[in-house]
Symmetry: C2
Subunit: 359 residues, 2 copies
């Protein structure tokens, strides 16, 4: 049940029998919003981060903008998130744009594309490279808007119960891998399968699937995937810096006072910052555990395999760009930005990592 709302404008004070403090509290409109997620509410870093976001917004608005958070399936099924938010059944959602590539193929560009940009490149494109405006255009057509609100950082390549020595080893491989990464390995004869996080462990141990990528060392370790498959491959060529999204129903957004819009944006940026940082710290911690405490064999994909994956990724990206004029525009912006970003990154972080390894 929603609590009573007060609709008052400056100068139109509905005083009645209210005491002075009540009058003051009533003077600012109150909003009770609902937000759905595509993952369980308690999932560390992600779910907990989103709950902290809601608490921060409440704190910043003196509890006048209250966002009640629902995990996947609590209010609606995970994959109905986009439709529910579009229809205004909920005001907000926290998800990842590549869940919606079935209806909007170009949405992939706002999460991650294979052999695309890392977290910083994605942020730079969205904040200062025209990416956000394109996202506004893509979602605006559906009565929605979305802003970045989290990033996992570079993922691992996944857990495999057999070795990948050549590109041919993907033939017939049943792998849990969503999005465009799945389309890429399909071109090598693999069978990408969608499996919810909670079912990966069992499916891997029973042989329903031969391989799976989940999130990264921290979440993989928590799921116990090192007990379900032997080979842990890197790097995560398919998701080098996946952006998580805060999706908002546009009409609801337009009903917020400018101060609350600014607060939601700042809280989302804070979540974006903190979630990536937290993941970086916990992935490093759990990676050390996987390395030191488990029997996992941690292996790089062979160069030959990566080269083939890269060619196929180019084909998949090309196909996505041909799905609509807007998709073509988004792809062109992304590709040009990536090209320029990488040239500088090579003398910046790339060169720095090489310098550190050097000795």
């Amino acid at each position: 049940m929603r609590r009573r709302r007060f609709f008052t404008k400056a100068g139109t004070i509905v005083a009645g029998a209210l005491t002075a403090p009540q009058l003051l509290r009533a003077s600012v409109q109150r909003f009770d919003w609902r937000m759905v997620m595509v993952i369980p509410k308690g999932l560390p870093v992600w779910g907990t981060g989103v709950q902290r976001f809601a608490e921060q917004v409440a704190a910043m608005t003196d509890h006048r903008l209250n966002i009640k958070v629902f995990g996947a399936g609590e209010l609606i099924p995970a994959l109905q998130t986009f439709d529910a938010c579009q229809a205004g059944l909920v005001e907000m959602a926290h998800s990842s744009a590549y869940y919606w590539i079935g209806k909007l193929p170009a949405a992939a560009y706002f999460t991650a594309v294979p052999f695309g940009m890392d977290a910083l490149g994605m942020k730079a494109w969205l904040v200062a490279g025209g990416g956000q405006q394109l996202w506004d255009e893509l979602y605006g057509n559906h009565g929605l808007l979305a802003i970045p609100a989290g990033n996992t950082g570079v993922q691992m390549g996944g857990w495999f119960n057999r070795k990948i020595n050549t590109a041919d080893d993907f033939r017939g491989l049943k792998m849990r891998i969503p999005g465009l990464g799945g389309a890429v390995i399909e071109k090598l004869g693999a069978k990408p399968i969608l499996v919810a996080g909670g079912e990966i462990y069992t499916n891997l141990t029973t042989g329903v699937i031969d391989a799976a990528e989940w999130v990264g060392p921290h979440h993989d370790y928590l799921l116990g995937l090192h007990k379900a498959a032997r080979y842990y491959y890197y790097p995560g060529w398919h998701e080098p810096g996946p952006v998580l999204e805060l999706m908002i129903n546009k009409r609801a957004w337009q009903g917020l006072p400018p101060a609350y819009q600014a607060i939601v944006k700042a809280a989302a940026a804070s979540l974006d910052n903190d979630m990536l940082s937290e993941w970086a710290a916990l992935d490093a911690l759990s990676f050390a555990k996987i390395q030191n405490e488990t029997k996992a064999e941690i292996l790089p994909f062979p160069k030959e395999v990566l080269d083939v994956l890269k060619v196929k990724a180019g084909e998949v990206r090309q196909q996505v760009s041909q799905t609509s004029p807007l998709a073509a525009k988004i792809a062109a912006s992304f590709d040009a930005f990536q090209h320029q970003y990488e040239r500088h990154q090579d003398v910046a972080l790339g060169a720095y990592l090489r310098a550190r390894e050097g000795s």
Copy 2:
């Protein structure tokens, strides 16, 4: 002149002859704060970002927390920022902790240390690795607190008017380079010199200095440094991910309502996120210009030089860690975190960059 302040607490309404809207506005305390910077107010990305931060805070508080921003020298000289904020002459400052290593050597760890962590590693240590608590301890002893509020990303190694082929080429070199980076090249016989940004160009062209590092491709290009020196070296081993700080007088902070504290924190996180993103985009753009439109020779430091710099950087870091028990505690936390972070980074972003270069 500061406008009138209303000091009212819930339940103690000072109504008098005020109209209802005035009453409502008066019911929330208003704060007029001042903030000083260590750089000119109009410096792109940095100065403009800080001004946007102040505007955001005003928007989020319905102009009840107003922060007036002063560039370096407008209110006090840049290097008196720490003292001014500590004394409460100003409530806030935007700077960089390594400006204060004269009085607090360990402050360097909260900006950047030579061969330290990149922007993401710094964020991860501060947000989720215990770094913020140590910063609180270091500054808390001086009546201050600071939170991250910007990052330039990996810098370049600097502009040189002669080639650096061996470590010996640093002997006698007069270089504009602040912080611990200066201490490192001093060990190679160079002379680190502090020169304000506005004087670098002239000093380089007249031979007062032989080399200079400033910020990165975007700001270097704006200063025209490609016309003042020929060789542009990379990577910026001395500042791999320098954190900019929002410094706050602790007593002033404690006088803010919790909602405004939450708003300042979120706005700082937003600035942190946006500034790094903006720098990444503009550095890439200006790097392409330097590469395509100027006569600059863009060169990597030779491996032998980097190896020597790394050894000397280790000595400098060791010396800093011995300046106080708290410095030792900070260094131990930083070093352990960096070690774990790098092991994971090597299979994450490191491996991804290698994979991309591969073909």
